[in-house]
Amino acid sequence: MNRFSYARPTDVAEAVREGSPGDVRYLAGGTNLVDLMKENVERPVRVVDINRLPLHDISDLPDGGLRLGALATNADTAWDARVEERYPLLSSAILAGASPQLRNAATNGGNVNQRTRCYYFYDTATPCNKREPGSGCGAIGGVNRIHAILGASAACIATHPSDMAVALAALDATVQVTGPDGDRAIPFADYHRLPGAEAWQDNNLAPGELVTAIDLPDERFTGHYTYLKLRDRLSYAFALVSVAAALKIEDGRIVEARVALGGVAHKPWRVKTAESVLHGETPSHNAFLAAAHAITEGATGHGDNDFKIGLARKAIVRALRQAADGTPQSQTDKRVA
């Protein structure tokens, strides 16, 4: 771990001032940043510990939505009565991730900003464009079982590992940020980015920008939702493929459908035009399958991860079935619902 200076501001403006110049990292729960620093992947010259900022609350928004403080922990968020009641999809997705101990430490801001789990990114002895621009991508032609099948580039085929973010994408959340140039709100779909040629850029935060909160709109999907996560063991592994599905069904017909995929791309994967395939349909295997194909259109494997294409389609179909039937996936009973 390199030497760095350290600041622990207590108000947001001060944090942004501290966080603005150069190679600075905000430290929240530290469950990802500290690991990466130990591996010499992250080498900030300055660490700004944001844990004393007043961003721990979860509060109601005037429009009926909910504001999740950037520093509210994943555990406090998942078990918050309002989240459980109004956004059970989000609660479920958070609980599908990591372990209780990690969720106790991990924060909402840290979760959406966590970095890829690509093996090469973590190993400084190997090439990786995300870690070291221009060094090449070790995963292409290498060990890539956990890598992207959608939206990847010739520079990088990493995935975003968060479960929470997949639900936030499905729920059309908004990320509230503040920075040297003031505050702005970023729709979740625009928060993370595809790697393109700039693999090192995970998301659209500008340098020095700080996430202060994540806002959930009033639209809640409490009746028909699920978070289905498929992984290499039944708990405590990142998603190979995950699906956040939310439906509105009126008179037996789907009037709104949201499907976001995790584990398959550099960002939670949503294709709105594909979702609309379901509009007006009665829930059926064929309708779900058509949506699954539409959502995964253009999917390409890189060898080890070829299986993800078929698996993603099956998972979408199953998740839509779970959502339509009102039998969401349990995160404790590991039988697939």
């Binding site: 063991r233 039988r335 697939v336």
Partner: protein
């Protein structure tokens, strides 16, 4: 002390070291901190093969607190001869000599060691050491390595070459039923919870104390003495607590070499702890491929076994395992042949990992057996009973005992096997397919010459000691129990000591021989104490025990009791006072003896198990849940059913990992294992483990070892992986022949 409360062999005594472990009082190798200690951090090679052309350590040396950076360029002298680097259990070859020269033989090889006043400075500086390499072409692709497979002329001394019988090729050709398939096992890393580490105390008088994570303190002592030219008397190796081994600590690993090298060079105390990532840079279970060809008559009687396997090793050492012999020993079949080779790759040397050879070779063979049972249209259990061999079918020798039939019966009853429906995809539970699978497990029941001392104090407290290790298996507890049993003392009065090279000679802890061997040694030592006590008792005025000999008395509750009249008894303390003894001390050695050696030649000695598995597989998605395991074990006498059960549970869990999860993935272009962390190298999590029932079947065997004990550390893993794989086939109709069976292998 009432004899009803007597604790002895067979009692489910809780671990005597448990409290120390859960309270943190137990200190592990990296938890010692001698005054003035330096922290060492190893720099690992980034290339798989080649030469170091330059080392630029200027930036690293400039880090405040850095004291020295050791590399091949400035290392002190170590032994020059290959054989000086050999250890008791290493395979033939040229052992790794870190920093010996500029050669890189595998990715992750230690190429420099940074020493600093703080761990943080050492780690930071390690990242700043710039090493330039001239890379050479490497091969870490097992499939390519197969082209170079061979059987070394010089075998590992524990290796048992397969013994062929009959004419297997001819019988196979003629057989009406045939199985001919290739099976694979991925590379696995041991990943004990405790990272490999050493703390070396530099005493300044030429002597050192080495706190090491090892499974054999005397092996490390002898190795260090030979490598560094220090008299063994000046090296004390301690490992009283070991946070798991699974075989990773059988050989002295490079961390201890580096630590002692630095300590002798700088004449200071040093600690080196490997990172979890570096735990993937030494020993691992070899990758394996096994071709099994089976022939059988229409009724299912086996007529041919052709079992051929290759496992991976490094280029510099020939690690060999007994992979192909198990099926040849276990099944009655007139024609059988085995063929085993190793394939060298540019990796570190593979090594023993829990049930080495058997966990690989028996598991893969048992999948083939399942395939043959299906061809013969026989229930897998009926098939195994039909081909049951009472004797060791490969060596033609009887077993000292083999209660596998009983294990099948008791396991099947507990599992409800008779309700199994024949044929794949015949059982379901909602949208999950249900499968029931069975496999046999087999392992050696070994005994290793071991010494132990016993010391009885004037206050009646007993200490027993041996240089064995307790790698979490319960050795302390077993020693305490055997002593309690022999001398009739309550466990609270007994202290067991181990994990110290100064103690009476013992082998490395491995191979499941620990309990049988040290148990026997403690027993003979305690018997010797008993005899001395009896003699001392004759000094008591009036000789209350008369002329009773050792066979005329029992030891109970700290007293010598006359068998013929239990009302007559003498306290140990009274006897010692009378004879004016402050302590009674003995050291004894348990060896197989002449009759044991004869028996070793004439009889086979093995543990067996029958493992039954239930899986539920989501029909659409291929998500596997192992919902039930019943493991019925025939392992002779069980010293402690509680710690023994824990061993089987651990073995079964590891077997589930082998079946479904564990796999170290190699980037063959870089020649490097890539998923080198516990986030990405998967072992079963709690959610992956459901009901596990352990049954010990009755298997009295006075011949196998002095206590009739066979050992249970490894047998639990052997049957599990195949039972799960066979259950998955029964559930899904998909025969997956490469372990682990990850979700991708269950997609259409």
């Amino acid at each position: 002390m009432a004899s009803s409360a007597r604790i002895g062999i067979g009692s489910p005594l809780s671990r005597v070291d448990g409290i120390a472990k859960v309270t943190g009082a137990a200190k592990y190798a990296a938890e010692h901190r001698p005054a003035g200690m330096l922290y060492g951090f190893a720099v690992s090679s980034g290339i798989a093969k080649g030469r170091i052309t330059a080392i630029d350590d200027r930036a690293a040396r400039a880090v405040p607190g850095v004291v020295e950076i050791v590399t091949h360029e400035n290392r002190p002298r170590t032994a020059w001869l290959d054989r000086s680097h050999h250890d008791q259990v290493g395979p033939p070859g040229s052992p790794l000599r870190p920093f010996y020269d500029d050669k890189v033989m595998f990715s992750g090889q230690p190429v420099a060691l940074v020493l600093a006043e703080t761990f943080e400075a050492a780690r930071h500086a390690a990242a700043l050491v710039e090493i330039s390499y001239e890379a050479e072409a490497h091969n870490t692709d097992f499939d390519k390595a197969l082209a170079e497979k061979f059987l070394p002329a010089k075998k590992r001394n524990t290796f048992h070459p397969p013994k062929n019988r009959g004419d297997a090729e001819k019988a196979f050709a003629a057989a009406p039923l045939k199985v001919d398939a290739e099976y694979r096992l991925a590379t696995e890393h041991h990943n004990p919870m405790e990272m490999h580490a050493s703390t070396v105390e530099w005493h300044g008088d030429g002597s050192i104390t080495v706190h090491d994570k090892t499974q054999g303190p005397q092996n490390v002592q002898a190795y260090l003495s030979s490598v560094f030219g220090i008299s063994a008397k000046k090296i004390r190796v301690l490992n009283p607590y070991v946070g798991g081994g699974f075989g990773s600590g059988l050989r002295p690993q490079y961390h201890v070499y580096l630590t002692v090298l630095a300590a002798t060079m700088l004449e200071r105390s040093v600690r080196v702890v490997l990172t979890r990532q570096q735990m993937f840079t030494h020993v691992h279970r070899p990758e394996a491929v096994q071709t099994v060809r089976l022939g059988a008559e229409m009724d299912g009687r086996l007529t041919a076994i052709l079992n051929s396997a290759t496992t991976s090793t490094s280029r510099y050492e020939n690690h060999m395992e007994d992979v192909v012999i198990w099926g040849m020993m276990n099944y009655a079949c007139p024609n059988a042949s085995g063929d085993y080779t190793i394939a060298p790759m540019d990796t570190s040397t593979s090594g023993d990992m829990r049930a080495p050879g058997a966990a690989t070779g028996m598991a893969l063979f048992e999948i083939a057996i399942d395939e043959m049972a299906e061809q013969a249209k026989l229930d897998p259990l009926a098939f195994r009973l039909l081909n049951y061999s009472e004797e060791d079918a490969m060596n033609g020798t009887p077993f000292t005992s083999k209660a596998l039939r009983e294990a099948f019966a008791e396991g099947a009853a507990a599992f409800g096997w008779d309700r199994r429906k024949a044929g794949p995809r015949t059982m379901r539970d909602g949208h999950e397919l249900v499968g029931w699978g069975l496999a046999t497990g087999m392992w050696d029941a070994m005994f290793s010459k071991t010494s132990a001392s016993a010391k009885l104090s004037a206050n009646g407290d007993l200490e027993v000691a041996s240089a064995l290790s307790d790698i979490g298996t319960g050795t302390y507890t077993v020693m305490t129990q055997v002593a309690a049993d022999t001398l009739g003392l309550p466990p609270e009065r007994i202290t067991a000591r181990l994990g110290d090279s100064d103690l009476p000679a013992a082998p490395v802890e491995g191979g499941s021989w620990g309990a049988a061997s040290v148990g026997a040694a403690v027993q003979v030592a305690c018997r010797a104490i008993g005899e001395k006590l009896l003699k001392a008792a004759s000094s008591i005025e009036g000789k209350p025990l008369g002329s009773a000999g050792i066979d005329d008395v029992t030891f109970d509750g700290g007293r010598i009791v006359l068998k013929s009249d239990p009302a007559i008894a003498v306290e140990f303390t009274e006897a010692m006072r009378a004879a004016d003894l402050q302590t009674i001390e003995v050291e004894e050695t348990a060896s197989a003896g002449i009759s044991g050696m004869v028996s070793q030649i004439r009889k086979s000695r093995n543990t067996h198990c029958a493992t039954f598995a239930e899986v539920k597989v989501d029909e659409e998605l291929g998500v596997v849940r192992v919902t039930r395991i019943v493991c019925a074990v025939a392992a002779g006498r069980i010293i402690n059913p509680k710690t023994a059960r824990s061993q089987i549970l651990g073995g079964v869990v590891m077997g589930i990992g082998m079946a479904l999860h564990e796999e170290t993935m190699m980037d063959t272009k870089l020649g490097r294992f890539m998923n080198h962390s516990l986030a990405e190298y998967h072992v079963p999590a709690n959610a992956d483990i459901d009901s596990i029932e352990v049954i010990f079947v009755d298997e009295p065997d006075p011949e196998v070892t002095p206590l009739g004990v066979k050992g249970v550390g490894e047998i639990g893993i052997v049957g599990t992986a195949a039972a799960v794989a066979n259950a998955i086939y029964h559930a899904t109709g998909k025969r997956v022949r490469s372990l682990p069976i990850t979700i991708d292998k269950l997609q259409d």
